[in-house]
């Protein structure tokens, strides 16, 4: 009798576990790998928080993932750009329909307020500040409160992109007492240490830097189509569509303003396997960055593909190898070419990416056909060529490896290959390279380095060879920070790449206006990069994601986050 009772209770217990939470039919459930931490549109740090902020706030221009083009968002049209002396004037016109959550219009005064918040001292804005340092002042049109001009120092081709690329803040919510009205944007240009003692600014800073402006659902309300309804730290974040949002009434097709799903839930699941299980259990509607092996399993799973569609868009993220050309042993380009000839890029792709990648000759994506140099062939494994190149570079083959006299000292050609710890893709690739190099008689040690240490060593040019990934975009190809010689000393040119010709190409590209000329320059740059073999691009990845079949209008794209959740519509 007692046993029966126990059995009964445990069955009851089991039954109550079987219940699944109820949900709204057109709710989209998306996974985030970590808590967004802060949703402040100025001081956010993670890709996840950016994805959420994009639904709450808007910038002047935005990327339409449907065709990967930059389109006006809060701005009515593309800006007009005038260059005068050493200044550039970029003029925007805001959409007349644009509104904040309380129904008041978005005006040029809000843009000016945003710029002040981005540029002022004492505020938690250090991450964004460098991005708008070139904006010197703002001129608001006297007749039209929706028209304004940014006054910028100098000119670079990405200025247009950068002026449209920050979220506009509502002055009425962020500064209800109007403390920032005492300042102008130009007050914060250049050295503004004197302003730090201003009491008004100090008061505003104390208020603005508080956790409220990172998390409060009452304050973090922008002109976007959604508002936060719930945020359980580390668990989930729920957004609700605004009733009758203004963006849904803008008629023309030249924008990416959408807010279709009634509710969007972001689930925070750090572990990949757990996220996959949640997907299989239909507890998630979208999952991106699925590991390649699991993706193939899902593809083969009939019952899964009935409910979910799988996509592999060409991403703009590529893997590359950096060889430290500043090291005496690697300073001869023939040595670097020899090493490049020991790279088996196809094996890397097959083993570590399960073939979800496209080999590339340089940093320009193969999918951007006009700019991609298809006359070049990616490096492939060629032992004979590598040996010949090493000999040509003055290395002598001895019983235990290759030797050369550098600066009066006998030195052996050894390589230490490093990568960011935890990256299994690069771990595999490094091991494949190690085997390939061993056949040529070059001893290679493989070393995983903790993230910060890894980037610190790269900056200090304290490495032989590393694997890294870089993410780009299809609109701007200003490779100056990566390849300009003077950026080798204190910048992102870790490999020390650079020739007089490559420098002049990078300069010429920034002033070139004609597409043909740009293509010519970029193709030549790819040739030089290939020849110098200090920065060896390996492959462009394909992203792997799954989306539930009940949604359409997904706008799958190679740009992060690979889909536009605000445009999702229920299948009819």
């Amino acid at each position: 009798m007692r046993k029966l009772q126990i059995l009964g209770y445990s069955l009851l217990l089991l039954l109550c576990f079987c219940s699944k939470p109820n949900r709204v039919p057109d709710e989209v459930r998306v996974r985030l790998t970590s808590d967004p931490e802060t949703l402040n549109p100025v001081s956010y740090t993670t890709a996840g928080s950016l994805q959420v902020i994009n639904l709450l706030f808007q910038s002047l221009m935005a990327i339409d993932l449907a065709d990967d083009k930059i389109k006006p968002a809060l701005a009515a049209t593309k800006p007009s750009i005038v260059q005068q002396d050493s200044l550039t004037y970029i003029t925007y016109q805001l959409r007349p329909e644009a509104q904040w959550t309380n129904g008041s219009p978005v005006t040029a005064a809000d843009v000016a307020f945003t710029l002040k918040v981005l540029k002022a001292p004492l505020l938690n804005n250090e991450r964004m500040k460098p991005q708008v340092a070139f904006i010197h002042d703002i001129i608001i049109d006297k007749a039209d409160k929706r028209k304004f001009t940014f006054v910028c120092d100098g000119f670079t081709p990405e200025m247009e992109l950068l002026t449209g690329d920050f979220f506009i803040l509502p002055a009425y919510l962020f500064d209800p007492e109007g403390k920032m009205e005492a300042f102008t944007v130009s007050d914060f240009a250049g050295d503004n240490s004197a302003r730090e003692n201003d009491e008004g600014l100090q008061n505003f800073a104390a208020h603005y830097n508080s956790a409220e402006y990172a998390r409060s659902k009452d304050l973090l309300q922008g002109s976007g189509g959604y508002v936060i309804t719930a945020w359980e730290q580390g668990q989930y974040l729920t957004l609700k569509r605004k009733d009758d949002w203004w963006g849904n009434h803008v008629d023309d097709n030249t924008h990416a303003l959408t807010a279709n799903p009634l509710q969007i839930s972001f689930k925070i699941i750090p572990d990949n396997t757990t996220a996959l299980l949640a997907l299989k259990n239909q507890q998630l509607d979208v999952l991106e960055n699925i590991p390649a092996a699991e993706f193939n399993q899902l593809k083969a799973d009939k019952s899964f593909t009935e409910d979910y569609a799988l996509y592999t868009p060409n991403s703009y993220e590529f893997a590359y190898i950096g060889l430290n050309s500043r090291l005496p042993k690697l300073s001869d380009k023939r040595t670097r070419q020899a090493i490049a000839n020991l790279l088996d890029i196809n094996s890397f792709i097959k083993v570590s990416q399960q073939s979800y990648a496209t080999p590339t000759v340089g940093p320009v994506p193969p999918s951007i056909k006009p700019y991609y140099n298809n006359k070049l062939k990616p490096y492939s494994y060629n032992l004979q060529k590598a040996t010949a190149l090493l000999q040509a570079a003055g290395w002598q083959r001895k019983a235990d490896g290759w030797f050369k006299t550098i600066n009066g000292q006998q030195q052996q050609l050894t390589l230490e290959v490093s990568y960011r710890a935890g990256n299994t893709v690069f771990e595999n690739a490094a091991l494949i390279f190690q085997q390939g190099a061993a056949k040529a008689g070059i001893p290679v040690t493989v070393q995983a380095q903790e993230g910060s240490l890894f980037s610190q060593k790269a900056k200090a040019h304290d490495f032989d060879m590393f694997f890294r990934a870089l993410s780009g975009n299809p609109f701007v190809f200003n490779f100056k920070p990566l390849f300009y010689t003077s950026y080798a000393n204190d910048g992102a040119n870790y490999t020390g790449f650079g020739t007089p010709e490559s420098d002049s190409i990078l300069d010429a590209y920034n002033v070139a206006e004609d597409d043909k000329e740009k293509a010519r320059l970029l193709k030549r740059l790819q040739e030089i990069l290939h020849e110098e073999a200090a920065f060896i691009a390996l492959y462009y990845q394909k992203d792997r994601l799954a989306v539930h079949r009940r949604f359409t209008n997904l706008k799958i794209s190679g740009l992060e986050p690979n889909y536009d959740v605000s445009s999702f519509k229920l299948q009819e």
């Binding site: 970590s34 802060t38 668990q235 299980l277 259990n281 500043r326 940093p363 910060s452 980037s455």
Partner: protein, 459 residues
Amino acid sequence: MRYYLLKRLFLAIPVLWLLATLVFMLSRLLPGSYAAESILQEGNGYYAKGSAADRATAYQQYLIRTGQHLPLFYFSVSSGATPPDSLLRLLPEAAQHNLQQLAWHIGNWQEAYTFWRTLQELQLHAGPAELQALAPFLQTITTTTNVQQRVEAARAIIKYDTASPLARKLYRLALKLQQQHRLSFMIPSLRWHGTANQYHKWLTGILHGNLGNSYRDSRSVTDIIVETSANTFWIIFISMLLTTLAALELSIKLMQPRYKQWRKAVMPLLFLIDSIPLFVLALLLLVLFASPAFLQLFPVYGLGYGYGGQTRIEQITHTLPYLVLPILCLSLAHLPYLVNQFYNALSAAESMDYTRTARAKGLPYGLIIRKHMLRNALLPIITLLSDFLPALIAGSVIIETIFAIPGMGRLLVTSVQARDYPLLVAIVLVVAVAKVVSHVLADICYAYADPRIRYQSQA
């Protein structure tokens, strides 16, 4: 007894202080910092979002705004050759590293700095062709530990461009440094910073009950810990309770002769479980009990939605299913070890005289175990349990990550990864306090289990 416990608690304070201080110092020795990671990072490489100089300025402003520009401690002892913090702080991290190394090799930071500046200027003024040709020598000069090599490299630079005054200056300096007394870096130098240091600020904050704010979302560390520790506490507490009870029952059962056959089956099974790493066990449980491929009994992740306006009981019944697998996982992982220890403790008690006496009295074996053997075996068990906490917290790191439960374990990992020092130090402090409390509890339990200890401590 009460006096004894008070004394223990009182003695724990300096230990806690020392521990927190050590963690405070050690955490700052990690390479990279939150600000450097988020502000100095180049971002994507297709175009520059701001120049390196603007980023460096913003970084300095951040350090000053958050008080991280101050020295770490009241004083610093370092090699006499180390450049002062006030100088290093103005440079990017990579340059700091290079200059420091150079200063140690040279043995005098002022001269190292002049040398380093000349080197920087030379690179700044060199054209691309020149830079390409000189790069290997420049690299040698910055990194080599060999004085002769440095001079050689400087000479090579002059050979390339005989007219350059900077190259000449560099060569002159290199020659001069050759004659330096290079052991001077062994002489330590003491620098006094006074109370304007990060440690002082942090310690006074703690004494006022303020553990600081998280670097990531500027929330008060105390709030974050209070919010997340509840989940972890319940998971650890319930699984500890379950494991202990299960281990006790199991070992008692296994002691009895009539379960001899069981012992042969259960012990190897426990060994098997023990050999499975915790994360594999967690994933195994997930795949077995939360997947449509096998049995879909439990939810996969998280703690479910809160609906608001629920009663406490509703809340508990709502979150309970989500906690079953994590708790089961943590309990299973630690069960084999505990059973083994309990079983051994009981076995040791079995060969004692009092057990034989009890048997001779004709008591049933089950009663002998519970009444006579267990009480004596309890002492090692209590010690074991009080030491159990660190293992459970280490376990909760994995469990919370896999089951997506927001708790202290996951918080610890993310705060280490993000270099969120205030949070990191506070979590370690909380764990340390829990450990001290568990030791005090163990003392009480000792006294309860063994009256002899009670009398001794009263004496």
